[in-house]
């Protein structure tokens, strides 16, 4: 940790020169036998990995149109080549999105196309060797699946899809990544990513009720496992005790309190995050999401609301309806989905983001704020990649950008934007997403944060920004860790509902 230094800011953000091999062998720790086997993967790299990898690749090509089309469609135009934060921060050419894809595409060409079988050298096709496999492990674990490259690709090629396929293939031969597989194991065993058992969770929530009472004099409840509550809140488990996450949890509770909404958490399903997406495994993605369905059915709730978490919101918004039926519009004869959809109240969006919930309440004038409570902050907003490029809020495309900003402007007086080519759908990843938020990747995480830190520095210098709001648990944890390395105060980062919490008026109106 001592030798980790932040790369220098670029005065003009020019495209970096290439440093081949800069990040070779800097991948994360490999998962242990125990971790892999708990998820049904082989404990360690299997003997016949070569044939198994090719077979698995063929299987994936027949199951995912994205993977199939993306393997063929790339013309090496280079539109994506300077768009990845990890490339900008590390200068390793294999962190260019197109080059990362080519690690896989070269093998695809060799085994699945005629030119690659006949003239491998000509078309850049390679045999699958142990070196190639190690390279996959290394570089597909240096992608945060943030989809920024997919915004710029003329064919919409999304490197995240290829990274997910690669990790799925690697897991299938026993070459998984420690951090992600460990976390998925905890969700199955304990119910959340942080391994916080039910009794500890209940204790924490009781403590929070006391804290809020001390600070405001008002009995704000943090209910859990309440049958018949209207709203089930599914939030990242970091919200239960990590800083600054917990301040946003207090914010959600205050919003529910002030609007008189009956709500509950679930001890069985105390995690919004779904690392099944990060490892590209449909079964894991589905099994983890099924806990939310189960909790909703058992508690009999009418609405499901999701807390501040980027990838969780992508999974909830884009995938839950497919995976578990949490949503609307299932066929009348789709018994699996109808069972749940009949229970939910479709006057509201299912699932809803906590920002959608709060913004609706603000528009209905059911919340009042003392904006001056946030006057010590000059606020900017960091769009989180999975929210920005993999989901939506509200009725209009782009609502995922407007709604959080509208909330900030409703609860605070000082808001400024960062540079336009680094916000909204062009936002830069925090550097820790996609299953890379682990200390064994701290070098990569610090370097990957460079583009965001550069524009934040500008906003600080020009506008005196001293608070960067974001709605993602991973962004919050990543920034808290890397910002001090860039010379910022770690307390500069926080949630949107932390600002809501500061300004909300709870007493009689």
């Amino acid at each position: 940790m001592a030798d980790i230094v932040a790369p220098a800011y670029r005065t003009i953000p020019i495209i970096p020169a290439l440093k081949p091999g800069a990040m070779e062998g800097k991948g994360p720790f490999v998962a242990s036998e125990k971790l892999n086997e708990a998820l049904g993967f082989p404990g360690q790299l299997v003997e016949d990995w070569h044939d198994k990898v090719i077979a698995k690749m063929g299987d994936m090509l027949s199951k995912y149109r994205s993977f199939r089309v993306f393997m063929d469609a790339c013309v090496h135009c280079g539109a994506c080549s300077d768009k990845c934060h990890y490339f900008i921060g590390t200068q390793d050419p294999k962190n260019m999105p197109v080059a990362r894809q080519d690690l896989m595409r070269s093998v695809y060409r060799r085994y699945f196309t005629i030119p690659g079988k006949l003239f491998p050298k000509l078309v850049g096709a390679r045999d699958l060797t142990r070196e190639v496999l190690d390279e996959w492990y290394n570089y597909f674990n240096q992608c945060s699946e943030c989809r920024r490259c997919s915004v710029f690709c003329p064919y919409g090629i999304d490197t995240a899809e290829i990274t997910m396929a690669a990790r799925e293939i690697l897991d299938s031969v026993g070459y998984g990544q420690k951090y992600s597989n460990e976390i998925i194991g905890k969700v199955h065993k304990i119910g959340n990513n942080l391994g916080l058992p039910g009794p500890a969770l209940i204790d924490t929530l009781e403590g929070l009720e006391e804290d809020v009472k001390d600070a405001t004099g008002i009995d704000v409840r943090f209910p859990i496992d309440v049958k018949g509550a209207e709203v089930l809140l599914i939030t990242p488990s970091a919200d239960f005790f990590a800083e600054p996450h917990i301040d946003s949890l207090i914010g959600y509770a205050k919003v529910f309190h002030a609007t008189g909404t009956s709500w509950t958490l679930s001890s069985m399903s105390s995690e919004a995050g779904n690392f099944g997406m990060f490892i590209g495994n449909y079964d894991q993605l589905r099994t983890i999401a099924m806990r939310i369905r189960q909790a909703a059915l058992e508690l009999g709730v009418k609405r499901i609301v999701v807390g501040e978490c980027g990838h969780a919101w992508r999974v909830a918004y884009s995938f839950w309806n497919t995976l578990t039926g949490v949503g609307d519009g299932a066929d009348a004869n789709d018994r699996f989905a109808q069972m749940l959809q009949k229970q939910l109240d479709h006057r509201y969006k299912q699932p809803a983001h906590i920002c959608e919930f709060t913004w609706d309440m603000i528009q209905d004038e059911r919340l009042t704020f003392d904006k001056s409570k946030n006057d010590k902050h000059i606020i900017t907003f960091h769009d989180s990649c999975n929210v920005a490029r993999g989901s939506r809020m509200g009725d209009m495309p782009g609502g995922q950008f407007e709604i959080p900003r509208n909330i900030i402007k409703a609860v605070a007086n000082n808001f400024v934007e960062m540079a336009p080519n680094t916000t909204r759908e062009q936002t830069f990843c925090c550097g820790g997403g996609g299953g890379l938020l682990t200390d064994d990747l701290i070098d990569l995480r610090v370097k990957g944060a460079l583009p965001r830190m550069e524009v934040l520095k500008n906003a600080v210098d020009e506008h005196g920004v001293n608070f960067m709001a974001t709605i993602c648990a991973i962004c919050k944890a990543q920034f808290t860790k890397v910002m001090p390395i860039y010379g910022f105060d770690r307390k500069m980062v926080g949630g949107v509902h932390q600002l809501v919490s500061n300004a909300i008026q709870l007493g009689p109106k």
């Binding site: 089309v69 280079g78 989809r147 710029f152 919409g156 309806n321």
Partner: protein
């Protein structure tokens, strides 16, 4: 002799082109897209998706956001290629359609701009470090092939005329399975050989970006996952097995 050889080549190449492309397209169409993955913000209606796709295919919208140089060169090449191809319809129609007649002069200039676009794209591939790094030999050869086709075509127009009446007779004949005499002309033979090569490599190469873009889930999916349950056949099977 040459007439017969080219006739066989053209028939085979066209067959390979059509069958290969249809096979590839059917593979794309048959492969399910199990999850909703449009790159957002994305349109929420079918009409919106058609508009997004049109902007992507006609104006290269995403590339425009990415890099103005690549966009400019790519646009110049593709628009010119479209005009040049349409101009060539005159070799396959008799009488020539009025609008094909109308675009003839533009088609000629387009030959020049097509060459310029290709040279620009190649310069980028050779001179920009990042693009050079990601280029395979086939990337360069593809540009050489297209440059060859454009250059030989322009040479026949501006340097050494070929007997275009006879060329037209030959292709009209081919369309009716009646092999006429092709003028013996080295430039023409080169031009036609390269076109044959292009037809053959099309379904096996990165030229598949042309049909591929229409099947790209990040671009052709509606953003409506909460409103409509999206379920692929293989994913639905998991439900019936486990529940």
């Amino acid at each position: 002799m040459a007439s017969t050889v080219f006739a066989i080549l053209f028939y085979l190449a066209t067959l390979l082109f059509v069958v290969g492309l249809l096979y590839r397209i059917s593979t794309y169409a048959r492969t399910p897209a199990p999850l909703k993955i449009p790159t957002t913000p994305a349109p929420t209606t079918t009409g919106g998706v058609v508009l997004r796709m049109t902007r992507e295919v006609v104006f290269f919208e995403s590339l425009f956001k990415a890099n103005l140089w690549t966009w400019g060169m790519g646009m110049l090449f593709h628009a010119s290629l479209a005009l040049v191809t349409l101009r060539h319809l005159r070799y396959f129609t008799d009488p020539v359609w009025a609008w094909v007649e109308f675009i003839q002069p533009f088609g000629i200039y387009a030959g020049i701009t097509m060459l310029l676009g290709l040279l620009g794209l190649w310069a980028r591939r050779l001179l920009v470090e990042r693009i050079r790094y990601i280029s395979t030999p086939s990337d360069h050869l593809m540009l050489v092939l297209l440059i060859g086709i454009a250059a030989s075509g322009l040479m026949m127009k501006f340097v050494a005329h070929t007997d275009v009446i006879a060329v037209k007779g030959y292709f009209l004949g081919l369309m009716h399975f009646n092999v006429q005499v092709l003028p013996a002309d080295l430039l023409l033979a080169g031009h036609l050989s390269m076109v044959v090569a292009l037809l053959v490599v099309f379904p096996f190469s990165k030229l598949l970006h042309a049909p591929g873009v229409f099947f790209s889930p990040t671009r052709n999916q509606k953003d409506d996952p909460r409103e409509k349950r999206h379920l692929s056949a293989w994913a639905a099977k998991l439900e019936s097995e486990k529940n």
